[in-house]
């Protein structure tokens, strides 16, 4: 009886023998197995089942399953399940209270998103999303470019082996530890026409107080500027690590060849920073797509005004303030596709290079 249990355990893989050792042992077994197989067809059938089960359970994939199966289930449900559900919702006519009706699916919301009009689920006319899309792209590009340039400049400066490097690095990264709500409150204060630092400094030069936060022309730039304040520390860190990775022989060779500092950076060093630039760019642009928290806090609500309205704020407003759930889902799908366009190629190239 004891031997039977032990044999079951060893066949099913519940002992702690690694796959290699088992592979070696298996080569010795066939002889034994053919002997016991003669005892009757019932035993053979049972043994065949056992063999199949044991080779399945012994696979490393299954044995490591307890480790990754729960995270995978969570991620699968919350990320992929939710995305698919969102696409489904965008095809319904769900608005206001109640449950979504999954039986009548159509692309109506997408047509409204691109052309505007009055949908079947609302009595009001709904605007298309072009304004928000424009603002989103403008913000993404402006913010990303300035952030990267500033980060690069800072990294180059910090790389010159100045004193207090660690403290300075900590200070540059400090804004990244803040919540966007906090950043928005600080900058709201800085931009304030009467009491904000910016206007007070301008007034010292005789320029009258400028309305920044409520000014349609300056709004988006002001938002981009505050976001650059928050994020350029990250760009700096990425570039700094990349700069440190370039062997100093490159620097020296350029100097020996007579290049000025500026030329050296421009022709020799910067081209080598391409990987760092790409990875920082991906993170920063995807982030700009999500800049909702900042805008919501700055304008204390869902509506930052048309010139600062980005897809993220439009989506949340349509869904939560206007209760147009399905339309909100539609905008979210557009956002998702935009993110996919940015992230997809990046992930693919990482996969091909084996950096994943």
């Amino acid at each position: 009886m004891y031997r039977f249990i032990e044999e079951c355990k060893s066949r099913l893989g519940f002992d702690n023998v690694s796959e290699e050792r088992r592979g070696r042992e298996q080569q010795r077994e066939p002889g034994q197995r053919s002997q016991s197989g003669q005892r009757g067809s019932g035993v053979t059938h049972f043994q065949r089942l056992l063999t199949r089960l044991q080779s399945f359970l012994r696979r490393d994939a299954v044995r490591s399953a307890p480790f990754w199966i729960l995270p995978f289930a969570l991620v699968g449900l919350f990320v992929y399940g939710a995305i698919i559900w969102n696409i489904l919702l965008s095809l319904t006519d769900f608005a206001g209270l109640g449950e979504p009706d999954y039986s009548a699916l159509d692309l109506e919301n997408y047509i409204i998103a691109f052309t505007g009009g009055t949908p079947s689920w609302s009595s009001l006319s709904i605007e298309p999303i072009w304004n928000a899309t424009q603002n989103t792209i403008a913000l993404m590009i402006g913010f990303a470019v300035v952030c990267l340039i500033l980060g690069l400049v800072l990294a180059i400066l910090v790389d010159q082996k100045i004193r207090f490097e660690n403290t300075i690095r900590t200070i540059y990264l400090l804004p990244m530890s803040l919540s966007f709500v906090v950043t928005a409150k600080f900058w709201l204060y800085m931009y304030n026409p009467q009491t904000g630092l910016i206007n007070i400094t301008l007034q010292a030069f005789g320029i009258g107080p400028i309305r920044i936060v409520q000014n349609p022309q300056l709004k988006l730039a002001a938002v981009a500027f505050a976001l650059v304040w928050q994020f350029s520390g990250y760009a700096m860190i990425v570039y700094l690590a990349a700069l440190r990775g370039i062997p100093s022989s490159h620097f020296e060779a350029a100097r020996v060849d007579g290049a000025s500092t500026f030329q050296m950076y421009r022709r020799v060093i910067i081209p080598q920073l391409r990987t760092a630039t790409v990875s920082a760019l991906v993170v920063i642009t995807v982030f700009a797509l999500k800049a909702f928290d900042f805008l919501f806090s700055m304008y204390s609500g869902y509506q930052p005004g048309p010139s600062a309205d980005i897809l993220a704020t439009r989506m949340v407003r349509e869904a939560y303030a206007n209760q147009n759930w399905a339309y909100g889902s539609t905008i979210a799908v557009v956002l998702f596709i935009m993110a996919l366009f940015i992230v997809g190629p990046y992930l693919y190239s990482q996969y091909r290079r084996g950096d994943l």
């Binding site: 991620v75 709500v181 979210a332």
Partner: protein, 281 residues
């Protein structure tokens, strides 16, 4: 270097303003410390705004801690386990699963908001479960179901980045050591418990710091899953504070912003080096 000034100025101005009494606040020189009457026009010094801020934000602070600590620990643990199962143990097909994880880092949260609201409010009867739980267990109030929903949500969305960070770390571990353990007869679970886990402690620090900051600072999920009310976390409460009929109370606002930022700031100042290192891997 003046760049340092650029970064510090908004915070410094905030600090100075937060220490002024609202009544005497004139806003003439916000970057100067409030030393009336020594420096005229700067307003008199007072810690009152801070006291008011802490009183006003106390509910949110507690809720934020209740939210952040379990979510951070869980997402870190699950990320480590997932990275182990997908990296240290070698099997076919694991790269595919891993790619699915990594893609999850980059999704814009808007893309899942409406389904999430539907899920927690209409599909999963968490609220009704909590009515009975709150009646029997002390310290648990009925509104805590919203916090639990948020904890699970943040854990799920934090797992991809934690897995990525741990995987980078596990790839560097010596595979010979693991092979030797396997040959000695250690099971996969034993290897994880005895070898990998102790070696991951530095990475756990990085992951915890990162996740704590991300979850504490989040507004979007809090807004849509908790909405406003008893269960509001500190980021939500911060949005509306200091605005009233009589105008904007800047000292209170600045004090509140600083109080809300304090936990992440403290963690960052003390553990910032590890954070910076983790971000570049």
């Amino acid at each position: 270097m003046m760049m340092v000034g650029f970064y510090l100025i908004p915070i410094e101005t905030g600090i100075m303003t937060s220490l002024t009494t609202p009544a005497s606040y004139t806003g003439n020189a916000p970057f100067l410390p409030p030393l009336e009457p020594v420096i005229p026009g700067t307003g008199s010094f007072s810690v009152q705004p801070w006291i008011n801020a802490i009183a006003g934000l106390s509910g949110g602070l507690i809720n934020s801690f209740v939210l952040v600590i379990p979510a951070t620990v869980l997402s870190g643990l699950l990320g480590s386990m997932a990275a182990y199962g997908l990296t240290t143990v070698d099997w076919r097909g694991q790269i595919m699963i891993y790619v699915l994880f990594v893609a999850g880092i980059f999704i814009p949260y808007q893309a899942v908001l409406v389904p999430l609201t539907q899920f927690w409010y209409n599909v999963v009867p968490l609220q009704s479960i909590f009515v009975t739980v709150a009646a029997s267990v002390p310290l648990v109030a009925e509104y805590h179901w919203k916090l639990l929903a948020l904890i699970i949500t943040h854990t799920a969305y934090g797992i991809p980045i934690c897995t990525l960070l741990f995987r980078a770390h596990y790839k560097k571990l010596s595979s010979e050591m693991i092979e030797a353990a396997r040959l000695d007869g250690a099971s996969i679970a034993t290897i994880y418990r005895r070898i990998i886990l102790p070696l991951s402690i530095p990475m756990f620090a990085v992951v915890f710091i990162y996740q704590f900051t991300q979850i504490w600072n989040d507004l979007l999920f809090a807004l849509t899953i908790i909405q406003f009310g008893d269960a509001s976390v500190v980021t939500q409460e911060l949005v509306g504070i200091g605005v009233s009929q009589s105008g904007t109370n800047f000292p209170l606002r600045m004090a509140a912003a600083l109080v809300a930022a304090l936990p992440t700031l403290i963690i960052y100042i003390f553990f910032g080096d590890r954070f910076a290192k983790g971000v570049t891997t």
